[in-house]
Assembly symmetry: D4
Homo-oligomer: 249 residues x 8
């Protein structure tokens, strides 16, 4: 219900086409559907510029299937994505919506439907190590659903800085960069130091001990001496993809 | 042993009906029963105005069954509730007290007996997401045992604020509101900002990474800019129900 | 702008009294005043059932004076309170609004104007120690502004439990209780264990070392074994007063 | 020393214009100047697309003056900014570089020279409260130095959500938004929920107690249920301005 | 009001010497005095076996003077101690109670009156470094007030283990040992490893950085591999003295 | 190798009975046995006044069996205890040392051999709830091995304070008290407030959410307003038993 | 690509042997191989003076096998090590590279190939307890791969300090010492206090409760009063071995 | 009292030159002097291979002067260093020992006497920023006292990585490197990635917000992906110098 629609509604009231009480009801009737266990938001794509997404953990397979079904019921719908689905949840959603594109992300899956048209912006996703792959895969799958064709560079950690420098042209020519790293998370600072493009950092919970399940990488990225670096939550590859979708319009 | 009883006892001593030594013994004999592994408190309902409750984790199925049996042995007893019971514990208590009302709360169960008479106060329980359902179900089950008939609104998180606004009348007309949310817990501030009724916030451990198992939502709710919001412990749906029972008399 | 006003507005549009474009403008014109450095909210009292409050820290004396002036400009206004004002801020607000009731709260001041009519509910404010007095004084001053006449019991900490028990009748007969305690915060559990009324706990930053500036008391209160205890933020005497205002209607 | 320059150098070596040993020396000679206590980086603007910046704390007034002098010595220089300067540091830098534009940011100052040409992108900076003003002022000053003309909206916290909604058109039509908030930081989630543009959140250390000097707002923003929100460090208004400079090209 | 007194009271009621209502009043009249800002506990010494103590921070000089006066008003009183008194507080208490024994403890003072009779137990107080002296001095002053004549060994830290071993006979022959140490707090483990007597460890906030204001020493002492070591709060020399008073009867 | 033995050794050297080189060797030969994976300490009982103990986690069943065998090989040995043994470890140690007294402590076992002679001191072990039983059982089993006959009082938490008060004589007449509690740990303060005997508090990891796996109870106990309370590590029932052994001589 | 090679390349360009474009390509071609999921670094041994290492967790068995194969493909290769391999990963790497030396490290394995020539430096690895063995075994296995023949001393914890003192000659005559300890980690301070050689401390996550999964030992080691002690991450036996390799040249 | 001396003592006992009782006394008489408030350790230099050091904070100026005097009283003494001395402490020590070499380290001073003979090892000290200078100056002053002539490179932070690379030869040819950095501390990983020498990292408390007073840099350094990096405590420039003294023999 945007401003134009509101103007029209008031005009219709004035001209007698719509009754005031009816108008009041309509003002209340917002574009979501209440399934009891979820209030499915049908205009988030419009409002936030990104596709609909379902975060699977904490939902039963039946919950997942019902929400996906509802989201896909909208004609001309924008991309629909489910992240962190377990084997059971994957099976349930593919049963009700068979055409989904499935990406394995460690022990879980990202599934998408109705992928957006390809967008031209050049996006690079860089990881510090091989163990960051599940987060990178989630990020890549969501970016693909949103129409991007990201380039993935895995295992460019700072302990062997030439591995990143060898790809320096790809990095500096990208329109936006996602850096995914655990341990000390220093790769994000390094990348932000060599490019003028937006850099979104994703700390990961890989590593052990003093890595504190990703808190160390998170704090390090937030304290970066490279100005203009921004950060999303630990292991949040999905969030980084959404941030890029906002940034790249 | 309230003040009246104490006066009477002293009067009885004065009049010779009760011997001083006997009085001393009685002063010590308080209304609980020691089962060895538990001291079952038979006048908590009287003292704290809420039903008896057993927190199942850390107790054997036999412990659970014995405590429930003891609590129900009191004639004219107030509501008895057991929370977070496992499958084994559930089976054990239903064997000794078959009439319990069972509610599934994620991987555990809430069971209640001797539910209170229905109370007229209007109570609303709102969750931020679907994954908060187990905590909401525990809260709802305990509220029902205490005589309330709460209205449950699931998945009203702040990312789609119209989902809450659509139910704004239900919220503002409630006598008290429980808000259950994980992640950044902002829903509690939003609700407290639109209603003059008491709002009790329950942070949940849903989410991952920087959510820190509910600590983030907890801290956020405690730091709320909405004045007069109160908070209970992480995932403590039971506690919120008890708080409402105190508040609504 | 409540529902009645919205209905009326739409009715006026229908009947031609109000132009649709004008209606749109009015829908936007909400009851706050933008002073540039603050958006003063003129209907919070209506919406949240509590008086207007200004949190002084971080504002210049001129900011404070301007916001208080604006709040008091509303005819028939509800109570206005400023908390944690420094000497300079105190001087500034009393210059523009001389009639304020001033309460010293440690190194700062609480000032109130237009106190509400006296309300009959019995409220007790209990502290664990003498060092908790500044927080208790803030709580008491705000409660008084809201029309309550709270009874203050200072230094009832759990190390000498008879000091609380001596006042047990006052505690159990109160309609609501605020418990203010630092260190291990155990007093809140004890009070909640002996009364059926609502109990709001305020952890304080008194103490040292393992008290962690109030975090220990906060965590302890949230983990209380006394069901139905609710908690506000550290040192937040104002918040506890607001919570009681909500609870006692 | 970009790739073109490197190619030219090699070509010059091949054609005998440059001696190999001389080339080796040049490859080492990078565009910074070592002042002993600082290595001033003369091509950061080129590499990272943002102006030169000096973080004043921990530097003597003489350090500050010398670094600013060095940065401004480059002909055709990009914007130069110093942040968090104390009174002494302010005096020192204005003595050596009198034309700086000074902005008071709480107890400190931001000073800029050689501001960039005005850029057309619409930028909005929103704060939760008045106490967030110093951080917002730093962000605004740096954005202005970079050529933006940000719109500042102060005191739109979630406890009176209509204060934000009244400016909803300004928010949704902006090309990028900075949200600056302390306490529970919920404003960032709310803003990200209503706009499709990039949103950069800055947690602030305003507030007290459970706000944990900004850590609560930081964690809450990172755990936001609004997808695509990105975060910079606590009180880092400068960092948010740099992030916007990257995002808006 | 111990058990004997209670028996006697009931006997008196039975024999008609005391009226039941009067008895009820007496049961309520417990041995503390309410000064408004403090409830002074006149039988703590009896109940807890240790002298009366006043923790000065957070009290005005007038508060301190009044509480000390009240405590000393009891005829035949047990030791009275005030800890962490500032210069102003010291002056105020010595004015109303001139005979106090004053000990400087860093920036504050411990003062005691009515010291107990000398007790024969051998007590040793060991510190890791010179910077731990203020805490050791507080502990020593309180121990002296309680009748002990502790031996103080300063600067026996583990980095030069022979400094402790040289005094090993004094340590192993003591009836109880207090170990006061900051930094890594390892001295407590070492001492507990060589003596069979009770060892009470006091972590101190000396040191910097990773010492985390005493939290590191606290955690280390609690995790000691030396069985039977007990710990009190950070910098709590007073608490350690009280623990020894309990232990040594 | 105590001082007497050292004197004798030197005397023997002087008189020519022992060769200097031989003496040097003997000075090095201390009473432990190196099994390769463990250095078994044969005079800890002598030195620390408590029995030998083996902490099972992290050891293979073979390690456990070998260490227990070694400890029991000493003629006239003091009590030997193994704590937290798994089913496999239990089986292994009982095979090599069949006579052990086995106590179930939750999912693990405490086993002891060669229990000490009964000691007369009266010891009370109190728990806050039923879920604290495993820790209490470990504490009780070790105390029994050391010769004590502790009285166990389970489920005396502060929410029903009369449950503790009913046993107040048993508590105040004990020579030492162990308080085992999770959640907010307030029971320890309460107990220390009513007895003059030594009180050792054991925080437990029972509870959930804001209990932070026992950290909340730990901090609360360390911040207790009851003077002279001492604390051991989380869930460390063994440590509390050892502390009592030291305290009670 | 070291400085000599760079000089030669430029000389070759100058003399016409190498084309400038070709030179540019070569400058980019650094000695790593991109396997898609890993960028295998073929000159880390040269650059960092230590063998190649693969951290197994987070990699599939196939990943592990491919990286090991790649590393061993280099003729005349330096030592190759894989740490923390699971049973599946172990099987996969031994299949492609059968000659590896396998060491069990708790639930995982360290495997090495192409061990370096024996180096003469004397290295001692000391543990606080038996439970630290897996970390010590990892450290020992890596040290052996690097050519050292470390002496392992297990279970020398500070609670029985004579167990360490008995081996004091071995400790003080070592060229470098690794101390591996959990709980309070005090052993590291003790060792650093008796030797002039480099001491590298490894905190371990053994223990429970207040040990906080190794954080307590870590903080204690970093706060050590023994000057010159250095620390690596929790459980990082591999890191300590690498540090020794650097230190001993 | 080393092993040779012990052998000699025993030999003297055997030959009758020394009486056994006298020998016992000598064994106890270890080389420290007890000043009451400090046990000055006269053979630490011998034992730990580093000079004597006094940490000034927490000591009175008189304490400092007395300890320095005592340390310098030893004929042929090794270097004596006092760190973090305030103006008052500086004045006091220079009065009793005028020849000290004074280095300003931020608000404090490092003073040394009797500097060691120059040692040939090449040492480099690198800082991330100018604000790290005080820690670097402390490190440099202590290294100089120990006989090193360190090369200081200031402001080489990772945001402009070419500033470090320009000095890469100096770094890689050093015998040992100290890296001093705050914020995200990534510089240490980068340096350890390009050199085979020992690298000791010092996290600093510079920066603000998410830097958490140096904890972020500390955790990041401990989690470094560069193998063999070791770490000392926050701001511990002294400790890093001592570590290098151990490492370089």
């Amino acid at each position: 219900m945007d401003e134009t629609a509101l103007s029209q509604l008031l005009e219709d009231v004035r001209s007698g086409i719509v009754d005031p009480d009816e108008a009041l009801v309509r003002l209340r009737r917002l574009p979501f559907v209440d399934l009891g266990f979820a209030r499915v938001d049908h205009h988030r794509a419009l409002r936030q510029g990104i596709g609909e997404a379902v975060y699977a953990p904490g939902k039963t397979p039946e919950h997942c299937a019902a929400v996906v079904t509802e989201l896909l019921s909208e004609p001309g719908s924008s991309p629909v994505v489910i992240t962190r689905a377990s084997d059971d949840q994957l099976k349930a959603v593919l049963e009700v919506a068979p055409g989904g594109e499935v990406t394995a992300t460690g022990q879980t899956y990202t599934v998408s439907w109705c992928g957006a048209l390809e967008r031209p912006a050049r996006v690079v996703v860089i990881t510090g190590g091989t163990a960051d792959l599940p987060v990178a895969k989630e990020c890549e799958a969501v970016l693909r659903a949103f129409g991007f064709r990201p380039q993935l560079m895995v295992d460019c950690g700072i302990a062997g800085v030439h591995r990143l420098l060898a790809s320096v042209d790809d990095v500096t020519s990208a329109d936006a960069v996602v850096v995914i790293a655990g341990m000390e998370g220093a790769l994000a600072s390094l990348v932000a130091g060599i490019t003028a493009s937006p850099v979104v950092a994703v700390p990961t919970s890989t590593g052990y001990g003093a890595g504190l399940e990703g808190v160390t990488a998170l704090l390090a990225m937030l304290s970066s001496c490279a100005p203009g670096l921004t950060v999303v939550g630990i292991d949040n590859g999905f969030g980084a993809a959404c941030a890029l979708s906002r940034i790249l319009g």
